[in-house]
Amino acid sequence: MAADPEADFGTPARHGAPVRLTIDGRAVTVPEGTSVMRAAALADAAIPKLCATDTLESFGSCRLCLVEIEGARGTPASCTTPVREGMVVATQTERLKKLRRGVMELYISDHPLDCLTCSANNDCELQDQAAAVGLRDVRYGYDGANHLDAPADVSNPYFDFDPAKCIVCSRCVRACDEVQGTFALTIDGRGFASKVSAGMPEDDFLNSECVSCGACVAACPTATLNEKAVAEIGTPQRAVVTTCAYCGVGCSFRAEMRGEEVVRMVPAKDGKANRGHSCVKGRFAYGYAHHGDRITTPMIRASTADPWRPVSWEEAFAYAASELQRIQATYGRQAVGGISSSRCTNEETFLVQKLVRAGFGNNNIDTCARVCHSPTGYGLKATFGTSAGTQDFDSVADADVILVIGANPTDGHPVFASRMKSRLRQGAKLIVIDPRRIDLVRTPHVEAAHHLPLQPGTNVALLTAMAHVIVTEGLADEAFVAARCDMDEYREWAAFVAEPRHSPEVLEAVTRVPAANVRAAARLYATGGNAAIYYGLGVTEHSQGSSTVMAIANLAMATGNIGRPGVGVNPLRGQNNVQGACDMGSFPHELSGYRHIAGAEGRRLFEGDWGVSLDPEPGLRIPNMLDAAVDGVFKGIYIQGEDILQSDPNTKHVLAGLKAMECVIVHDLFLNETANYAHVFFPGSTFLEKDGTFTNAERRIQRVRKVMSPLAGLADWEVTVGLANALGLQWSYGHPSEIMDEIARLTPTFAGVSYALLETEGSLQWPVTEAAPAGTPVMHADHFVRGKGKFVITDYVPTDEKTGPRYPLLLTTGRILSQYNVGAQTRRTRNTVWHEADVLEIHPFDAENRGLASGDWARLASRAGETSLRVLVTDRVAPGVVYTTFHHPETQANVVTTEHSDWATNCPEYKVTAVEVSPSNGPSDWQARYQAAADRARRIEPAEPAE
């Protein structure tokens, strides 16, 4: 019988030497440290329980799980009693049965009795236990003291808290502590007056520190904490396991359905990336799938000044194909291109790059990784040989020192951040390198050993200073280097970083981080045990993004922190499938599996399978596509699932490029900003409406499973097929699994991947090859993919984006927990209750000097442009640095960002913009004009009346 992945064994698993004991006459063997409760559950002799659940440490409060142990007095709780060799346990004696009934009697004497109309009917552990103990009579009666008139707290947009049903088992409090790490909940009062509280007695869930992750809702055994959707829609009937479509953690969810309606998304316990945890977005913010803004029919128009005209799929495909063919005939083969989506599936992305390479006949294909982690691709390929992180998420549990640079995981990768915080609470040390005092620096029970708040743009200088310390103080692991890396390159690099001009003392003038702190942090990283580096866009979105990635790799190699659990270099990939999009060959210079297009062997493989010859020259990256459009030589583009007008830098330049094109095809869920300048609109499908796979930041390929029919009638991959066939390519795929089979045929690192294998294994981390048939959790274990690890010398080159009297402040950007990137999805859910608008964080000194108070409108201006938004005065940013998010198109944050980018990959330097901030009386003229133009561009012709 297949094990139920959602089974609850009461207390967490332990690992240790086997211990043999007897439970109810049955012999059981479990690892040392396992509780008697878990041992009994594993032996099919489950003991009644209410406060115990195996995602949380045992607590011992309900007193239902009592057992009798031979030779021991009394009736200990099995959840808090570890097994012992030779122990003899009885779980169902008459005395125990009587005690359990006694406990249930007490519970039910203070509980509502209208189960039949309760939203947890048939999904309530209190019901289950009352049934299990055979409760028939509550002899206390129902007139005693109780909590039944406690008011419910319905403040949270997604779940309700009804304390009248609470049995004070503290599972919610413990989940918020142990699983999420936010510590927002507590028990207020004592004794009979004990009640769950989201902070102070006057706090409700919405204004408390609760981040709405849903861990408490999942942990609650009764209806006390329950999703509003269950109350509104009803109990789910079936569940389908799928993968979240928000960030690069890639949480596994059970989509619980009634028919084709999603009742709720419940994090899957056996999800390897999330292990039963979730964040507010994946857990609750899927309502965008049914938002009124969803477009469900294709639309076309000859000019962007015209309103949209809804048409059939056939007409839309034919029109798009004819335009693309016309453009190529007029302007040449290189005049068209495509942008694949980092939010669509691997199969869909593979088809888009196939469309460009086999259909358009060029390599003008790029993806959103351009603007986020392309430096990761470049930097890690150069140093290690693979454009991906080296570990899995589980690895953090073995780290002794965690270095977070340019990332804010509590907001950007919340579920992974919770696992990181769990390890930090156990005693691992934390170093944070960030201009801003992110949450992780000081959060409940976690405090960074070192926060290095460097000047934006000086990452390479700081990392070089750390390398200087490691080399000059003799802290490098030269044995590792000698065995695994090129020793000559190492010596060159070591000599370089050891130069006096690279000491923390000298570089302090550049980084503004006190030298003593840099030295201490470097020593901690080098000597603190297993040291792991986690980094994000604060590393890559800079003019030296690729150099910074290589500097990080250098540090890891120099200290031997590669090739085993607990160490490594971990890029926190942003999008749900950005890793996948890159893997699938979405870069203009690479085929799938990161093989350069100039390589004849790779091309031959594809040419043989596709029956076409491929262009061997690299194609255009997105910024270069826009340049070429402005030049008048790039005229047509197929954009799937990306809003370049909102998310790419230097909005005016993007606008100029789009306006210069003759056929812009946007394939998306909603009429986004880019669609304002599009001529063809293909309505897209959400992750709920299609089958496929996503690959998360761990290189983990996971299934996306369709739970409802696509609102527009076609899944995204079917749309690309439609366009391809309208171009005469004669594609036929019956199911995305066939596309994956093609990927596996053509991509050595994916050779063993198939939907059948994904069914049995659940997920696979590539490379999946003959040598690693079940995937590869930790990379570079014996040798680097490129053979020897390469030390690349990275010297600090200051960015061209300089502050000056006109633009004295530095703007950096980031994101927030409740909204996701450009907010296309989250702005169309109830998450707007948390972050209605982007705000500009500014230090009190700078605010004071400018006469700004929190809530005031301010003008944010750079050399590229200006916009207006409200400010928040806070000392989370250092003086001289301002910060904002980019979730709302009204903010037009990218009007302000510049054309500067990473030297190797053109990843935009979002994180460093010289700006000035001054009081304003409202949105700028640009914003008003833009909004008016957007409204005009979104008009849709009414449907023709039926004949």
Binding site: S58, F59, G60, S61, C62, R63, L66, G74, T75, A77, C79, T80, T81, P82, R95, K98, L99, G102, V103, L106, Y107, S109, D110, L113, R136, D137, V138, R139, Y140, G141, Y142, D143, G144, A145, I167, V168, S170, T186, I187, G189, R190, G191, F192, A193, S194
Partner: protein, 380 residues
């Protein structure tokens, strides 16, 4: 030396466990929360001879390898707090490098329970922790910790100075050494009386204590605090000894002895035990959190004449499965007995776990106060 706080666990074994535990950081914690009614021995030691306590802690620290110690004293002892504050400063040089810090409680009886005390010291709610793990292995801040009562620690210097054999020669059975017995309540000669284990309860109450202050006959004696059993004069033959008392369903506890004369109403006393438990319950475990409240309600009904008619909810037609017939006094007493059993075997700690002692002993020895015929003995 068995812990004088109430559990009577051999201090030496506890110390050895901590000494052998892995890890460089260890603590000594003195439980000076003396919350039991009718007890004051800890207070008198802290006010009268604080150095004995400090020296005992320093010896313990030396024995187990602890660097830091805490004295957790209840807020209701301002004079002891002031004394200890000065004494710790005066003794600092002598006990260095071991350091002692004084911490003051905030009015919760439950923080006299060692794991609640540790939670309170850590700045958390005074909530009981499940055992295992024992504080000796995972105590304060997760480190191996010795938690001992004031009397236990204060006796240590004397045992070492005067010799262990001498101390062990005193006492009876497995209760060796002396105990400062606190005589209180309706007693003629109240106060602190330190003597070897082994005197009978009668000798203590009558010979030493001089009987009741009121001059009326002794009706009941409660030994061991508000959760100790009530003993009638018929049990005055019991020797003051841990095992002898346990065999009689009573406890020594912290050796508080509270005397009641024949005006005492044992039902009211039983009610007080439940009400006290309800007021002081940390609320974590069900038998104590809900059970103590139900216990008070039950005893109130028994006091009002016994029995329970069906309530308005139970009489509704929608309540099909409910048993709506009235309950007799005997059934209510039976329910009280079952409740006591649930609390005794099901509670997480000794607060809920011992509440049945005073209630069941009152029921057993004075059934007439509960409206039962004197000859009827309630089921155990």
């Amino acid at each position: 030396m068995r812990g004088r706080g109430g559990a009577g666990f051999p201090a030496g074994i506890k110390w050895r466990t901590v000494a052998e535990a892995a890890g460089p950081v260890k603590y000594i914690v003195c439980n000076a929360d003396e919350g039991d009614s009718g007890t004051f021995a800890d207070r008198m030691v802290m006010e009268g001879d604080p150095f004995a306590l400090i020296e005992g802690m320093a010896i313990a620290a030396f024995a187990v390898g602890a660097q830091k110690g805490f004295i957790y004293v209840r807020s209701e002892y301002p004079d002891a707090i002031a004394k200890l504050d000065v004494a710790i400063r005066l003794a600092a040089e002598d006990i260095a490098p071991f350091r002692i810090e004084l911490r003051v409680g905030a009015g919760a009886y439950i923080c006299g329970e060692e794991t609640s005390l540790l939670n309170s010291l850590e700045g958390k709610r005074g909530e009981v922790r499940a055992k295992p793990p024992l504080p000796a292995l995972q105590g304060l801040f997760g480190k191996p910790t010795v938690v001992n009562n004031v009397l236990t620690l204060a006796a240590v210097p004397h045992i070492l100075a005067d010799g262990a054999e001498g101390y062990a020669a005193l006492g009876t059975g497995r209760s060796r050494g002396t105990m400062p017995i606190q005589l209180a309540g309706n007693i003629k000669h109240g106060g602190l009386f330190e003597t070897a284990f082994g005197l009978t309860l009668g000798e203590i109450v009558n010979d030493i204590g001089g009987g009741t202050a009121s001059g009326r006959p002794v009706k009941a004696v409660q030994v061991g605090g508000p959760l100790g059993a009530y003993l009638p004069p018929s049990m005055f033959h019991l020797p003051f000894d841990y095992e002898a008392f346990a065999a009689a369903d009573a406890l020594i506890g912290h050796a508080g002895v509270v005397v009641f004369d024949d005006t005492a109403d044992m039902l009211a006393q039983a009610r007080f035990s439940m009400a006290f438990t309800a007021a002081e319950s940390c609320g974590k475990c069900t038998p104590c959190r809900i059970g103590a409240v139900r216990g008070v309600e039950l005893i109130d009904r028994i006091a009002a004449g016994g029995g329970r008619a069906a309530g308005p909810l139970e009489r509704l037609p929608q309540m099909r499965n409910v048993n709506a017939r009235p309950r007799s006094l005997e059934e209510e007493i039976g329910l009280l007995t079952d409740l006591c059993e649930t609390m005794k075997f099901g509670s997480l700690c000794a607060l809920g776990g011992f509440a049945p002692y005073p209630v069941m002993s009152a029921l057993c020895h004075w059934p007439q106060d509960f409206g039962l015929a004197p000859a009827v003995e309630a089921a155990q």
